[in-house]
Amino acid sequence: MLTLQSYLTLSAIVFSIGITGIIINRKNIIIVMMCTELLLISVNFNFIAFSHFLNDLSGQVFVFFILTVAAAEAAIGLAILVALYRNKKSISVSELNKLRN
């Protein structure tokens, strides 16, 4: 029997994998952005699961808006990344210390 908890557990596992990926990665900002997408997708999963089991369409509308904002965020983030690479020739997280001192 597929209950709400099955879907929520799956989404929690994906969410924790995304958090682990953000912490574990020190060398590549692109992987960090992909892990952000994983986090967003797991939250969307929660919204859709609740929308299905509570029989309320508002959750799906919210997922629609989250997808919009996530697409805009990915586009702007990648643009920042390209500008950063043009200036520093590196996208390593640990080398981004220009504001230090």
């Binding site: 709400l4 908890q5 992987i31 089991f53 029989n55 799906q60 996530a70």
Partner: protein, 200 residues
């Protein structure tokens, strides 16, 4: 009902393996392809939850647009993969511990008080599944129309910001400058010269 469970658990295991692949592959291209697999699997799982429109939107927008953008940037930046491998294991135990703690907390939250969720599950019926796109569109254009406009504005903002961040004006390109052409004074450009007739 048994078929649904088989579909759910097989796709859920594919989704978890693909998510692990995103963070474990050394090559960012493999990570991006693994994330594409995760998105497609998520879309298929959303079909199980009767969110057909959003499943299609997820595959079209994310796999078709956002992940292509990711792959494009990865291939354009020409990252040295060998250099990435160092410094990965130092912080890995802390990260894995934190991830396990987050997962354990969330899953314990869902399963300790499971009787509260069982009341939720009984409410499910097939009322929403009649025409998902029609219902979602009606909801979007009546109740959430202002939010819809704001979402469109956010997309416009993303276009402007990403163009203005990545635009660079090259030197040494021969092009017209219309402002200087229009404001040019004819007296400075053309000089009338009286040519004396040759004496003969």
């Amino acid at each position: 009902m048994m078929l649904l469970e088989i579909i759910f658990y097989s796709f859920a295991s594919v989704l978890i393996c693909a998510s692990l692949g995103v963070i474990l592959f050394k090559n960012p291209v493999y990570s991006a392809v693994s994330l594409i697999l995760a998105f497609i699997t998520t879309g298929l799982l959303w079909l199980l939850l009767e969110a057909e429109f959003l499943a299609i939107v997820l595959v079209l927008v994310y796999v078709g647009a956002v992940m292509v953008l990711f792959l494009f940037v990865i291939m354009m930046l020409n990252i040295n993969i060998e250099e990435e491998k160092s410094g990965f294991t130092k912080i890995a135990p802390v990260a894995i511990f934190l991830g396990l703690v987050v997962a354990a907390e969330l899953i314990a939250l869902f399963w300790i008080q499971s009787e509260q969720f069982s009341g939720v599950a009984s409410l499910s019926n097939s009322d929403l599944s009649s025409d998902n796109t029609l219902l979602l569109g009606t909801e979007l254009f009546t109740k959430y129309v202002l939010s819809f406009e704001i979402a469109g504005f956010i997309l416009l903002l993303a276009i402007i910001v990403s163009i203005s961040l990545t635009l660079r004006s090259r030197k040494n390109v021969k092009k017209q400058i219309a402002r200087e052409q229009i404001s040019a004074d004819p007296k400075q450009r053309v000089r009338m010269v009286d040519i004396k007739r040759g004496g003969n």
